[in-house]
C-alpha cells in the first residue's frame, strides 16, 4: 500500500507532458489577458461598473493594495509578459507565480464577471507554479543544458497528479450538484441550456431542444459522460475513450453556448493525462516537421537568391 502511494505520487516521469501543458496553458492565458484588456477600465477601473474591490474574508488581490488606473495597466502588462515567459519557459517558476498572482488579482477585483472557467485557470496556474514546468522545452532548459535540449528530464509526478485529481473532482462535483437539482433528473437540462438566448453561440437542431426523447438522451448522456470522466479516467484502457468523449462534450458545449474560457481550461487540464512518452513523441514530431518546413523555406530563399543573382548578371 505504502509502495503504491509512493509510486502514485513520487515516481519519476519525463517532463514532456508538463511542457505541453505549460505551453497550452500559457497560450490560453495570453488569450484571457487580451480578452480582459479590452474592457480594462469598464470592468476593473475606479470609474467602471465596480469602483472598488468587493473583498471577502480570506481573499487577496494586488489591485486592492495597488489601486489606480496605472496600477491596473501595470498588472495587465505584467500578466501578459509573464504568460509569454511561461510560453517560452523563461524564468518559468517566477513566470508561473506571476501568472497565478495576476489571475487571482483580476478575479478578486471584479468577481462578478468571471465564471468557473476562470477559476479553473487560476487553479492550473497554482499547480504549474508548484511544478518543474520549465524543465523541458524551455529557455530555462536551453540555458541549463543546450546540447540536451530535446531530452525531457524526469521529475516526480505529483504536480501532474494534482491536476489529474482536480479534473476528476470537477466531474464528480458537477455530477453531484446536478443530481441534486430537478432539471437534470427530469432529463430536460440540456434543452433548457440550449435555449438560453443570451448565452447561445451557434444554432443547434431545433429537434434537440423540442423533443423530450432527444433532450433526455442528451441530458442523461451528459451526466453519464461526466461520471465516466470522473471515474474511468483512472483506468488505463478506458482513459483515451472517456477523454475523447470529454473532448467531444466540451467542443459541443463550446459550439452551442458561450462559456468563456471554461472549454479551453478543461482541454488544457486534459493534457495532464497524456502519457509522457506520447507527449515526447508529439513534441519531437513537431520539431521534425518544423525542421522540414525550415529546410523547404531555406530552399526557396536560396533559389530566389540565385535567380536574383542571375538577373543581375
Amino acid at each position: 500500500m505504502t509502495e503504491s502511494w509512493q509510486r502514485f505520487w513520487f515516481s519519476e516521469e519525463e517532463t514532456s507532458t508538463l511542457a505541453l501543458l505549460r505551453i497550452a496553458f500559457a497560450l490560453v492565458v495570453i488569450g484571457w489577458t487580451l480578452a480582459v484588456v479590452v474592457d480594462l477600465s469598464a470592468l476593473f477601473g475606479s470609474t467602471g461598473i465596480l469602483p472598488s474591490e468587493p473583498g471577502a474574508p480570506g481573499t487577496w488581490g494586488l489591485m486592492a493594495v495597488l489601486p489606480g488606473h496605472a496600477a491596473l495597466i501595470v498588472c495587465a502588462v505584467v500578466l501578459l509578459a509573464a504568460a509569454v515567459c511561461l510560453l517560452v519557459g523563461y524564468r518559468t517558476r517566477l513566470a508561473s507565480v506571476l501568472v497565478f498572482a495576476g489571475l487571482v488579482s483580476f478575479q478578486r477585483r471584479n468577481p462578478f464577471v468571471f465564471d468557473s472557467g476562470d477559476s479553473l485557470l487560476r487553479i492550473i496556474a497554482l499547480f504549474l507554479a508548484l511544478s518543474p514546468a520549465g524543465a523541458s522545452l524551455s529557455i530555462d532548459r536551453l540555458r541549463k543544458a543546450r546540447e540536451r535540449f530535446w531530452e525531457f528530464p524526469s521529475r516526480a509526478v505529483w504536480p501532474l497528479r494534482l491536476m489529474q485529481i482536480q479534473l476528476s473532482m470537477i466531474y464528480l462535483a458537477t455530477v453531484w450538484a446536478k443530481a441534486r437539482g430537478t432539471a437534470w433528473n427530469h432529463g430536460t437540462a440540456v434543452s433548457y441550456a440550449l435555449r438560453l438566448k443570451d448565452l447561445n453561440r451557434f444554432p443547434v437542431p431545433h429537434l434537440l431542444t423540442s423533443s423530450t426523447v432527444l433532450s433526455s438522451v442528451a441530458t442523461y448522456g451528459t451526466l453519464a459522460t461526466e461520471f465516466a470522466l470522473a471515474v474511468l479516467v483512472w483506468n488505463r484502457k478506458a482513459r483515451p475513450w472517456v477523454l475523447g468523449l470529454g473532448v467531444a462534450l466540451h467542443l459541443g458545449i463550446e459550439y452551442s453556448i458561450r462559456v468563456g474560457f471554461f472549454t479551453l481550461g478543461m482541454l488544457v487540464i486534459y493534457v495532464a493525462f497524456v502519457p509522457s512518452d506520447a507527449a515526447a513523441r508529439l513534441i519531437l514530431a513537431a520539431r521534425d516537421q518544423l525542421g522540414r518546413l525550415r529546410a523547404v523555406a531555406a530552399g526557396f530563399s536560396l533559389r530566389g537568391a540565385r535567380r536574383a543573382q542571375a538577373g543581375v548578371r
Binding site: S46, G48, P54, F112, S191, T209, S211
Partner: protein, 72 residues
C-alpha cells in the same frame, strides 16, 4: 449584468450615465431593467413565454455624478 448583485446597481448606473452622456445632452435618468423569459419544458408549446421587462433600479443623475471620480 447579474441583477441579483445589488451592490453593482448604483455604480453600473453611474457608469452607463457617464458613457452615454454627450456635451449638451447630459443623461438625467438611468433605469436598469430586468428582462426575463421563462422557457417551458421540452415538448410543450409555446417553447417560451413572452419576455417580461421589469425596472428594478432608477438613478437620478446629477451633474456632480457626471463630473468624474468614483461611482460609489
Amino acid at each position: 449584468m447579474d441583477a441579483g448583485h445589488t451592490a453593482l446597481w448604483r455604480p453600473a448606473a453611474v457608469y452607463i450615465a457617464r458613457q452615454t452622456s454627450r456635451p449638451g445632452h447630459p443623461v438625467v435618468l438611468v433605469t436598469l431593467v430586468r428582462q426575463t423569459s421563462m422557457n417551458n419544458p421540452p415538448g410543450r408549446r409555446p417553447e417560451s413565454e413572452p419576455t417580461v421587462s421589469e425596472p428594478y433600479y432608477t438613478l437620478r443623475v446629477t451633474p456632480a455624478l457626471l463630473g468624474g471620480g468614483t461611482a460609489r
